[in-house]
């Protein structure tokens, strides 16, 4: 079997953890598998490098930042190779350019165009364990690029695609994907299997286990993924196209997201195309909008509420206020709040079961929690509530569906 394994920064943060991971890798190799491993930079290395850069230039160019940050993963693979050598297994470490991870030119946010599998194939043919520096590639100028957040997961899936791997294992510090965040919902249980779509909804809803980019790529190319812990040794969660639906509940998991800002644009002049105007303005500024609620017009005005990621709060505020000054947008007042959280349920079985949303609302009603906004898709229902109700809401909803 050809396995791609990926280990995050916390899994290789110190010599002891490096040894632990080297053990996981070499066991997979000893079982007769071809093993390709993608590593992130150790622990705080990336943050330390960013701090070093800031001391020298508070606004460094992204090209040079990528040149700097790529060192973190290179160090990581070299050290892991030394550890595996020490255990007596044949191993070789490779950087992004050595593997031929060709990316777009967007420094800091590069997208993978192609992976040249020649070198890795050669090394596997020699029965070597192959370690690849994650998060990095080269663009058409032969300059070093990095892939941005979740980059090493993406590298792992891209390698799995290029090598037609049988399995792509993402090792992290949690045991897998849970029906809810176990830190907040003690009754949460691990999900054995989940579909790509459910995983995508859970990731974007703040479950923070896998990054969407890697799951999207895995879905597109049908890469079987497994999320599991580098510490526990337990089996993890398998992510694949369709899951065994016998005994499947309608809902796979409950997630919360507190990094949300809610905007209410009050007293918008009710002319045709006003919503289009507002949201195309935000799109132009690359602000992603999540839930949207539009009131029915009162006289010649109406209100539009929507949520954005709290990262975009300031930019979004500026853009809308600027549009008022330039008369591009006429409204009475703008209200911005970050005291909100989004709680969502996700499940591929939901689409055939119209009662699911109602069950969720019932749980919240019983817990006395007020709902501000609602958003639904084929496989999820999200509600916006007060931030202080968030954990209680998760527990109430989780108990309703999983007990």
């Amino acid at each position: 079997m050809l396995i791609v394994q990926k280990f995050g920064g916390s899994s290789v943060a110190n010599p002891e953890r490096v040894r632990n991971v080297a053990g996981i890798i070499s066991r997979a190799y000893q079982q007769g598998n071809d093993v390709v491993v993608v590593l992130s930079a150790q622990g705080d290395t990336t943050d330390d490098l960013i701090e070093k850069a800031k001391q020298i230039n508070p606004k460094p160019s992204k090209r040079e930042m990528d040149m700097l940050l790529a060192c973190g993963e290179q160090e990581s693979v070299a050290l892991m190779a030394m550890c595996i050598e020490g255990m007596g297994f044949p191993v070789v470490s490779l950087t992004g350019w050595q593997v031929g991870v060709h990316t777009s030119s967007a420094y800091g946010l590069a997208r993978i165009y192609s992976v040249d599998s020649t070198r890795i194939r050669e090394e596997l043919d020699r029965r070597r364990i192959v370690l690849v520096a994650g998060f990095q590639g080269i663009n058409r100028y032969y300059d070093v690029t990095t892939l941005g957040r979740g980059g090493s997961d993406t590298t792992a899936v891209a390698l799995a695609v290029a090598l037609k791997a049988d399995l792509c294992q993402i090792y992290t510090d949690v045991d897998g994907v849970y029906t809810a965040d176990p830190r907040h919902v003690p009754d949460a249980t691990k999900i054995e299997e989940i579909t790509y779509d459910e995983m995508l909804e859970l990731a974007s809803l703040g479950a923070q286990v896998l990054h969407n980019r890697s799951v999207e790529m895995a879905k597109r190319y049908g890469v079987r993924m497994e999320v599991l812990s580098s510490f526990s040794g337990n089996p993890g969660t398998i992510v694949k196209e369709a899951v065994n639906t016998v005994e499947k509940t309608y809902v796979s998991g409950v997630a919360q997201d507190k990094s949300i800002a809610r905007f209410a644009v009050v007293g918008l002049k009710d002319v045709p195309g006003i919503a289009y105007k507002l949201f195309s303005l935000l799109a132009k500024n690359k602000i992603n909008v999540d839930i949207i609620l539009q009131s029915i017009g009162r006289g010649n005005t109406k209100d539009i509420s929507f949520t954005v990621s709290s990262d975009n709060k300031e930019l979004c505020k500026q853009v809308i206020e600027e549009a008022k000054r330039t008369n591009d947008l006429q409204y009475e007042s703008l209200d911005v709040s970050t005291d909100v959280a989004k709680v969502s349920i996700v499940g591929a079985g939901m689409v055939d079961n119209p009662g699911v949303a109602a069950t969720m609302f019932e749980a919240l009603f019983e817990a006395g929690i007020n709902i501000h906004m609602i958003s639904t898709s084929e496989i999820k229902v999200s509600v916006l509530i007060n931030i202080e109700d968030s954990e209680r809401a998760m527990r109430a909803v989780h108990a309703k569906f999983f007990q």
Copy 2:
């Protein structure tokens, strides 16, 4: 003018020093020069990386060590580029593989085969300052190699050769090449100009300013070098083929070397080829021998004394003792001492002035210093003395020639 500048690790050890060096680089650029800069890893970075490796594997492979260590220089050029950007100058950093520094496969001790100047030329044509990671290259497997000690100096000279640079400036923490080490000989003065050959003798004699590899390459290709300080702003020492001999003293400098082990093989069976046997044995074990003294035979035995670098002491001892056990070499006893130092005078003018050696011996006699061994070449005289006499000997010899 096309200038290659090289800055060592101590010159870029912290943000303040990085800014200082960025100032030197940008001034050369503002004067209208094409500027290519080779950097070492910052301060203790390389030692820190080695320590990290040792914690994981006390005997890592050289390939993985090179993969790890190359990060130090990559970090260094990225940070310097950020600093120069911040000052408003166009700049780009490049690694060894991006520049195309092609080397032999000997990890940790790679030799440069060729440098592809295409990328650097392109960047210079765009009027950018080009920063190149020193000490590193790639071999024919496209694996990362490092050049060993003095590697960044060698990178600088190799780039100067490939680019046909007008000058190769080696910035360090001293003002240039002195007539003796100023820490030990307060009267030492800076040498304005020195020949490649004199520089080679001084370097190998422990003056520790430039590494021989870089000077040898500069000599072979006629690269004009300058050794100068990144801190003082003073003019340094020019190293070139021939120097202006008007007013030239016969002696350019005095140097000492305390990293020496003296071996005395006593009572060697005096048969033809015995010296050949001994030294070919050492050569086979890659032990470089420096001064050799052979006694006139007494009866059917003789004694041979020689010096090696103290790094080679243990290996040399093992080799000779092993040869006795296997009867390859018959001798009575072996005496090894590291309580010795070598003091040398170097000067291209010496060859035409037979009195120079005698003047040196006179100085040592007047200071009451005993000489154990003597070695001479066309441009140097070395003496082996007790280690505790070393500084005093240097001062006495220096005073004789330079006051």
